[in-house]
Symmetry: C2
Subunit: 151 residues, 2 copies
DNA sequence: AATAAATTTATAATGATTACAAATTTATAA
DNA sequence: TTATAAATTTGTAATCATTATAAATTTATT
């Protein structure tokens, strides 16, 4: 993504073509999500924007996220129990959460998988795939510690 | 599942072999989840058990669910934003939510899909797949109403 | 610049979940 | 069985995320 894509004019245009009034709060929230692809919560976004926008209210962040979601510019996801996170990457993709280090990795869903990921006779519009397990570096570490025990 | 599987002795045994102390609250919660495969929330379970167990507290339902989850006897899932649901069917499977009628359908994950559902180099331990869309009967209805408009 | 409509703000309310300490239940050993 | 220690349950208060609300502000339109 080019730097110019974060300009107000660019975001303004994208919101207009999505049928959304480009208010100040919405622009800031969307720009934050474009720059921070780490699935932040509403509260994290609020706290991050606050220093530069002292008048921003928590409710505006929630309102903006709801509006952006309705227009398809961002999508919600749940990683832990009961807290919504948001993602400006709206194409279908999977999320991998490492049980050891907690890191989240995005991964693509191959077309065949995505198509099959739904029983016959059902029409799939959107998919959320969340996989828990061990990421490569944690796998390596646990292999090493197993070796140490052996030798 | 046989009727005998709901007996206290059976549930008692399953909990013991999972390394869990078979307390009264846990037995009732697990039996409810075995019988009601509709992904109930903690509050739904609490309200359903209350009439027969007037002394049951909401906190015990939460505690029991947490203990059952730790032992792998039930698994949590999120269907709507911010409310945990529980499932006594712990094998990997997908959930389909109809955007029109709201019904939830469980569907199996084919082995190949399940195996591929994770990038190379990662070790998958558990998967959650949630698909939104239209179920067969709602698809049919929307096709009918489209026909009416045409004719 | 004036007006109407939509959005934001600040705050209160709600809903789900967790924390906590006292009371009870469960497991273990005498 | 009874005594004891450990774990669990209860009831309540506290917390955390989110939604509701009404007044103030901003945005789009005339």
């Amino acid at each position: 993504m080019k730097a110019s894509d974060y300009s107000n004019e660019q975001l303004d245009q994208r919101m207009r073509s999505a049928g959304l009034r480009p208010s100040s709060a919405r622009i800031h929230v969307l720009r934050y999500l474009e720059k921070n692809r780490n699935h932040p919560t509403a509260d994290r976004i609020y706290k991050a924007l606050r220093p530069d926008l002292p008048s921003l209210s928590r409710a505006s962040v929630y309102n903006s996220l709801a509006a952006l979601e309705r227009s398809g510019l961002v999508r919600p996801l749940t990683l832990d129990g009961c807290e919504l996170r948001y993602d400006a990457f709206v194409e279908d993709h999977g999320h991998f959460r490492c049980e050891r280090c907690g890191a989240i990795h995005d991964f693509p869903l191959a077309h065949s998988e995505a198509a099959d990921l739904c029983p016959d006779g059902f029409l799939a519009r959107r998919k959320d795939v969340l996989v828990w397990g061990l990421c490569p570096s944690c796998l390596e570490e646990s292999a090493e510690s197993a070796n140490e025990k052996q030798s």
